[in-house]
């Protein structure tokens, strides 16, 4: 409708000019044949302009119809695990061809699954071929399916956030209640083909020089739709890897915290600066290829005096994993070396999403003395493959990711005894099943279970691996603060449930068991929202 109104305005103006302008020109023609001839010429020009407007109007209407058709398909694809309100609004039906299962571990496919509030009416512009338009509720009267709560002309706002209580049951003194993140997004649509999106995040409630919180620009990019099939993006954007990274809003994944594989192996939230081309086909193939900033291995800490994490929460939060510790987030990022990536996805079968991605590029190397031998470029490579299937009330997903650092031997040899050498490879995988057990009114209750395995150091060069201190050791410089030094690999079971209160709000709970770092087991409660 917005388009229709806009088109109407664009049409009325030239018609009005014609109605009031032509009689005056005709009166003048009676005095001068030459002028009449000129007026006739001008009339022809006006008629040509009218024809052009008419053609444009037809094209826009066709485009609008195409958008509406796609949105209708999307709406039809959503009922599997939607909260009741959505199910009521959109009858369960087999998703139309070309629509896809959820592009993530989403428990709420019609909520803001997308990393931005894109208003581009072209689903091909979505990263990784994701079929869902941004915004919480794709509707036919909101371009691109996005209906921001606040909108002023081309300006749009959105947001999400999550707070959680974590109780490590083996170390209850470390229980925490944290406003993990509060995020607000700002977008602006310059025209029907060009838009800007950005997200700003405050982590841990208070950000200052003396507080633990951080303020970050999580996304800041411009999309330009080249045609219906291809969009180019430039700026700081989320990398299209895995099921979660681009769709990390709390309403979109199971579990109070994000899964470990998509935190420790695929960093989360992982963004890089650069540009990409992306698009999708009507048959359900999505593609995304780009050139971005890479990793900085000079940031690696070979000599942590104390464990860099002591429980599951700090394991995820402290940037200890190989790519967490070395990504640059476009903060004065070293751009001597760039990385390239390719992500492919297939969502042509209703209820099924398949995807894979790979990135590789040289990293900023580990510093070495000026005359030390050069080991060769230290290359960082990461690849992943994922699948998601949502038959009936089920939501099944799996993911495998593996990364490598090359030419790390000399750096490790120079740091013998390190509890944290550079790994040559690291990997993780998970399988997850969720089931929509109950729904009533705006409420829905979806229990889930997940098994995941990760290792932040699967192999090493120049060392046999971390020198992991045994026994009870100091965990910090605080007198009397002792415990065991955690291992950098684990197998984790998670069971829990997401309880939806409408489409924007979710309450979560889970319990996690760790087979290696057994003292990490924890009980979590979470509150998440996205709009």
């Amino acid at each position: 409708m917005y388009h229709s109104r806009q088109m109407t305005r664009r049409f009325v103006l030239p018609v009005a000019l014609l109605v009031f302008g032509i009689p005056r020109l005709a009166a003048a023609a009676g005095d001068d044949d030459a002028r009449l001839s000129a007026l006739q010429h001008q009339l022809e020009q006006v008629q040509a302009a009218l024809q052009q407007l008419s053609d444009e109007n037809r094209a826009l209407r066709e485009h609008q119809e195409e958008v509406d058709r796609k949105l209708a398909q999307l709406s039809a694809a959503q009922p599997q695990v939607s909260p009741p309100s959505q199910v009521a609004a959109v009858p369960p039906a087999a998703p139309a061809a070309g629509a896809a299962a959820l592009p993530n571990t989403s428990a709420l496919p019609n909520s803001s699954a997308l990393p931005n509030g894109s208003a581009l009416p072209n689903t091909a512009a979505l990263p990784n071929g994701a079929p869902l338009p941004p915004g919480p509720v794709p509707t036919s009267d909101s371009p691109g399916g996005y209906r921001p709560l606040a909108s002023l002309g081309g300006l749009r706002f959105w947001g999400y956030g999550e707070a959680y209580y974590t109780d490590p049951t083996s170390a209850r003194k470390e229980s925490q209640f944290d406003l993990a993140r509060a995020v607000f997004g700002i977008g602006y649509q310059f025209d029907q083909r060009t838009e800007f999106n950005s997200e700003y995040e405050v982590e841990h409630a208070v950000s200052s020089a003396t507080d633990v919180g951080e303020f970050e620009v999580e996304q800041f990019y411009v999309d330009r739709r080249l045609n219906d099939a291809v969009t180019v993006r430039a700026g700081l954007f989320l990398m299209p890897f895995g099921l979660l990274n681009e769709y990390h809003e709390p309403t979109n994944f199971y579990g109070v915290q994000r899964n470990f594989v998509e935190t420790l192996i695929i960093p989360s939230t992982w963004r890089e600066g650069g540009f990409n081309l992306h698009g999708s086909t009507d048959s359900g193939f999505g593609w995304n290829v780009g050139l971005t900033t890479g990793f900085d291995l000079s940031k690696w800490d070979f000599a942590p005096e104390f464990p860099t994490y002591r429980n599951a929460l700090t394991l995820e939060d402290n940037d200890v994993a190989p790519l967490q510790a070395t990504h640059q987030e476009l903060a004065l990022a070293n751009a001597q070396h760039l990385s390239q990536y390719l992500a492919l996805s297939y969502f042509g079968i209703p209820g099924l999403t398949l995807g894979a991605a790979v990135t590789t590029g040289d990293a900023v190397p580990v510093p070495a003395p000026p005359n030390a031998p050069i080991p060769g470029n230290e290359r960082v490579t990461l690849w992943e493959a994922h699948a998601r299937w949502t038959p009936a009330r089920w939501d099944l997903s799996a993911l495998y990711a593996r990364g490598t650092f090359s030419n790390t031997a000399l750096a490790n040899v120079a740091n013998p005894g390190s509890p944290n050498p550079l790994p040559a490879s690291f990997y993780g995988y998970f399988v997850q099943a969720a089931y929509k057990l109950w729904q009533q009114g705006d409420y829905a209750f979806n229990p889930f279970a997940r098994f995941e395995r990760y290792t932040m150091g699967a192999s090493y060069e120049g060392t046999t691996g971390p020198v992991v201190p045994l026994g009870i050791v100091p965990l910090s410089a605080a007198p009397g603060d002792y415990g065991t030094w955690p291992l950098n690999h684990d197998r984790v079971w998670t069971v829990g449930a997401n309880f939806y209160l409408g489409q924007h709000l979710v309450l979560k709970t889970d319990y996690q068991w760790f087979q290696e770092n057994v003292n990490f087991k924890r009980f979590d409660l979470g509150l998440g929202l996205a709009f």
């Binding site: 590029g361 031998p373 470029n377 013998p416 005894g417």
Partner: protein, 478 residues
Amino acid sequence: MRGEARHAALACSALLIVTLAGCGGGDAGGGGTPAPPAESAKAQAGEALFFDQSLSASGKQACGTCHVPTRAFSGDPVTDHGLPVPLGGRNMDLPGFRNAPSLLYAALTPAFFLNAGTPTGGFFRDGRASSLAEQAQQPFVTSFEMANADATEVLARLNASPATLKLFVSAFGSAVLSDAQATLADIGAAIAAYEAEDPDFAPFSSKYDLWLEGKATLTAAEQNGLALFNNPVKGNCTACHPSQRQGYSDHALFTDFTYDNIGVPRNWNIPANTPGATSPISGVPLDYIPVQTNVPADAEYTYYDMGLCGPFAPAANDPNPRPSFMTITTLCGNFKVPTLRNVAITSPYFHNGNFATLHKVVQWYVTRDINNNTGNNPAPVPAGPGGNPYFTVGTPYVAADGSPDLYEYNDLPVAFDANVNIGEVPYTPPTFSGGQAPTLTAQEIDDVVAFLCTLTDGFDPNNPSAYNVPAQCAAGAN
């Protein structure tokens, strides 16, 4: 070529981004060591000033007297009559207060700053000089060192030393000689330039460095020593003496330039530590010992060297003095972490020179709180079944008469005992490993010392047997 390759990669990716191959940035690196630039006129003047004994009141002391080149520019106990501190003054009979540190790599020290509240950098062991140039001026006018009464006397001596004066004028001109204070400032600047420019002050030519460069091989013991040095629950030395580059240099400097209070035992061989002390050379009273106002009334002794919180303060004419910490009692006892480069040839050790060998230093580190049977130690830690394997008789914490002292950390007023670092390895806290066993075995201590010896500069891979390492580095030394 590298830049062209990158631009080509950018261009091809921008146009098509179809192929992944060949789009990464290249990095060839390499290159040899450029020849060191010729020293500036300032540095040449600084070298002359550094070794010119005629600039002292005694005529027998220069910077190089207490910072001996063959000892990595640290002090020499032989010339100091066996004292752990230098002798100076007009009659060369006045002992100083602190062990003279090595000046190698000193120019890489950052100016004093608070790193997230943590004191870091600065010159002298207490960081009270804002720059190397400021530091270099002070001994000229310190009564128990070069002992000039003031800058005017320094200027007069410079005018009477033709060779040095000629170099000084070449660097700074003659006009400055009309201002004694400005002349002294330029003397400091010249010496700082010498220390910064002369490659002898930062050779990075140790066996360890050449091992990193692939030109030397560390023995198994040395490699194990480095691993123990790095291991956070064994030596954990790297926590304060990082073996990783820290941003102050392209090389690891084995100091993080922070300050720590490690509870070193009081050294009774420093004359100032004995009440009513006199010169061991002439017997004259040491009337220059500072009178401290921040020593608590219940302290065992009247004089303590407490590092950051005194007794010494930034010079009045220091243009950028660090804050005064005289009243910040939590910093009392904190001294700047020194580099461990060349540590094998810079004995004795610590700010007060209390230990003569590296073995004793490491043995003390790993047993500091074990079985220190001092008189009133409020929480003595019992030794394990094997007792304290390294201090089987007595304790390092002794009173002037050699008997166990009243308190363990006897070089610090007991009221400030809480300042001592007890939370980090290798200090052995009561509940760690049962509170009884040191973190390093005797063999491991040998290995750590073997590694420390590899930090001695001057290793020639073509003539390894000529390596200048002292007896304490020999296998089996203890």
